[in-house]
Amino acid sequence: MKQHYNFAFIDEGAKREIRRKILKAVAIPGYQVPFGSRELPIARGWGTGGIQITLSVIGPDDVLKVIDQGCDGSVNAVNIKKFVSAVTGVKTTTDTVEATVIQTRHRIPEEKMTEEQILVLQVPYPEALRTVEPSEMETRRMHGEADYSRMWLYLYEDVVKYREISIGARYPVMVNGRYIMDPSPIPRWDIPKLHMADTLYLFGAGREKRIYAIPPYTEVKPLEFEDFKFRVEDFKGASCMRCGSTDTFLDEIIDDATGKRIYLCSDTGYCDKVIESRGGQQCRQ
């Protein structure tokens, strides 16, 4: 069959532009670089930022993994994987270690990623300061002058009111000591993985037309006070019902039939791997 479109769907000119913007983003860690977000066969807000980055950096020899909230099998992840695979012919996988490019929504895989891999994150709201300032002009000025007191004030008020910082996902981080960045809606659990990582992290917001990056070995610190430290989610000793892991990020699920509260690994690829390493034996609880 004759192919009616370019390799990786978008045209070479567009890919070059996106790669240029990625380079700029890598050069200024945490800084949001505007880019010309292209039309795709799916609507903006459904991961088009991530898809455009993936399509721009992927080559015929790459191995692709796509996850949505840690899951390889959810509709969005499957469709993106099928689409990219159809327009590039690359191999796909559910194994974090085997993949060279991983596109993700709302999670960073449990398994440690290497220098050889790229993690592409889909971003709904690239502006970390939007919570405290509605105007784009003003937030850009704030970034320009590193005027971040209002973000800190927001955290201060949270601590005073609730003795807790109420931000769950999208916890703001300071990148390279300069820019406050929205890490996309990953849970707090994944925030420490951004710091001094071996892997290149690329963030794409298709609807908001922004690309930003954390290059490998960059300092990434969650905002915290000297006497009120950042902390990750606490599962109070719960373990995954399938694989029994206690050191992973768990999804809480209420069983419809029994009304019981159960926990499962959010990273399904990792969960499967743990079960497989035990010879396919699932836990019983």
């Binding site: 320009g144 002058e145 005027d147 004030l153 201060y156 008020e157 005073v160 000297e226 006497d227 009120f228």
Partner: protein, 287 residues
Amino acid sequence: MPPIIPIIEVKNLTKIFGNGCPHCRNSTGPEHETNMCSNCGSVVACSDVFFELYPGEILGIVGESGSGKSTVVKLLHFDWEATSGEMYIQKPEVRIQNSDLDGKNLFLLSPYQKRQIINSFMGIVYQNPHLGLRMDVSSGGNIAERLIMANWKNIAMMRGRASELLEKTEIPVERMDEPPRNFSGGMQQRVQIAKALSNNPLILFLDEVTTGLDVSVQARVLDLIRNLQRELNLSIILVSHDLGVIRLLTKRTVVMKYGRIVETGLTDQILEDPQHPYTQILVSSQL
């Protein structure tokens, strides 16, 4: 005795709203009885304003509404960008390390450097508490915001400092976590003063702070300002149209009309023996 060096020095300060033209300055001012340029219609809010502020001094700026006195304060605090002019600060290195600000015209600094100057040297109290305070954020948080700007990162220490300041400005410390929205006008004004003082400023701008408060509250706020000024040795620029306030607090006064300084001198002298016709009217029309 060595001469006293002014803490800030202002020269040729000008603010023009509109496109401006070469005739703006010559066609406005008290002798033309307007601050709108007859040629291009631009408004000359202030022009050629110059003065020095000495350490520990309260300098008054007095004038009728529209005379440009608040404009001057907004320019000095970098709220508005000056059209032209110069401002120099004494020994910026005392508060800002590794910066090369000595002898530099502050109006030409980058926005980031201006912010540094504000955070380390200046405090401001506006007539309207809504301008100086975040009404939905707790009073303690309002004060903490300025401390955060000065790189404080410890909540317990920030709260300690906030309660200290609120006590000083006679706000019950138990109400620290209430937003200023819940407070009376006089209390809001005192929270604003506490906020302005949080970073230990050397220079405080007070823009019509007592206007709109009832007389007894006014007296308490003025008392507070006078005590704080003595205790902390602040240099203050006090803008007011109320000659009573000027007489009570200031030693030296600048009189403005149509964006120009018409008279400068010791407050007593100006009030007892005004030289400029406008100042004479101003003084004689006092109730």
